[in-house]
Symmetry: C2
Subunit: 208 residues, 2 copies
Amino acid sequence: MNKYSAFNGLNTAEKAELIEQINAKEKLYEKGRRIFTLTSESDETGILIQGLAYLVSINNYGEENILEYYSPGNIFGSYFSPDTNVNLYAITAKKDCNILVFKNTNIVSNVNSVNKYHIKFINNVITSASRKSQIHIDILSQRTIRKKLLTYLSYLSENEGTRTLTLPIPLSDLADYICVDRSAMMREIRKMNNESIITSKGKVISIL
Amino acid sequence: MNKYSAFNGLNTAEKAELIEQINAKEKLYEKGRRIFTLTSESDETGILIQGLAYLVSINNYGEENILEYYSPGNIFGSYFSPDTNVNLYAITAKKDCNILVFKNTNIVSNVNSVNKYHIKFINNVITSASRKSQIHIDILSQRTIRKKLLTYLSYLSENEGTRTLTLPIPLSDLADYICVDRSAMMREIRKMNNESIITSKGKVISIL
DNA sequence: ACGATATTGTTGCAAATGCAACAGAAATAT
DNA sequence: ATATTTCTGTTGCATTTGCAACAATATCGT
């Protein structure tokens, strides 16, 4: 879902200047590493350059639950996640990640409406963070596994501009993302194949 | 969930000045009315002053589904909702509403880091819009009705600062919000009462 | 190239949830 | 003050979904 990129509409020079202005540093996080833990004290924001990262909630038993996944261009951090003691949140690297790291407060620091690219950046931040969540809610609000899957696939399809999709995350994590049991989801995918609603093999799915 | 207010940390004078700067007009919408329809052309933003409003998605059969509810201070509009043809979105007035209406683009117009209150406003907009959604996702990602309810109640309790809560929306809409069948939710509430996890009568619920 | 690890795919069974339908209470409108 | 609409509360039953457990592939790391 990559139209939700923080740098949309910025050219290379503007992007570079902006990165300097918000004082962002590119860092590498290896697969499996915890990138941020989102506590009330944390003030870090990240923009994913390359790789795949998850926002997970962690319950009292240490079980993790995928709340969101981030593709290149997506922005994440304590700024966008609830500062609460109901659940613990963290960002983890599902694959090796290149991430631009900077402080929350720098998103809206030294703004001046003359800096058109900074204004654009703030707009991107607002829209990308909230719209991505709202899509997720729309998916989760569907009452059956089939509808959840089809809603997810529709959004992905619209975003990729094709009806043949390669999932950005493993099926096992997709089940987590749409909040259903993996085996039940697999069963539903099989049924949808039988009913010629989709054709799929592994992570490659065509909507018919 | 009213710490997610667009005007947090602003005093009356700053608020008034800001309202002028973003050129916001207060409007009244009667109960049941459609406030905005969120199409790709719409560019309106609203801040709820008084009342109760819902973000609904509308499917092909015209059935509406509550994706979010807004309490005084909350901000909503096309800026925060996906611009997509997968589903249709609209904001509707559940009760009579007073709403500050202004254009998307004015949120980040004429910014200057000297205007501390405007910076604060933008920060509020970012955090309130994205955190409210993320809480909703956290609720929906719970796998049972009981856990969904308890997660919802925990957030509400934390926000209200009390363990005895009056729901801001009817139980029938709460079922929609946590995306479960209403009768199944009622059954679960009864069980939780029997097991002394909560005591409740109608919209008044105490967490034990 | 090989072993280790992660992911996909499948099933039987139990349990939770949704659906439909209705009665009663509460709130709202006139 | 009363009628109308909305909301709460309940039940039986069908269905979906989750859980547990396992085999078969695919992918990754060295």
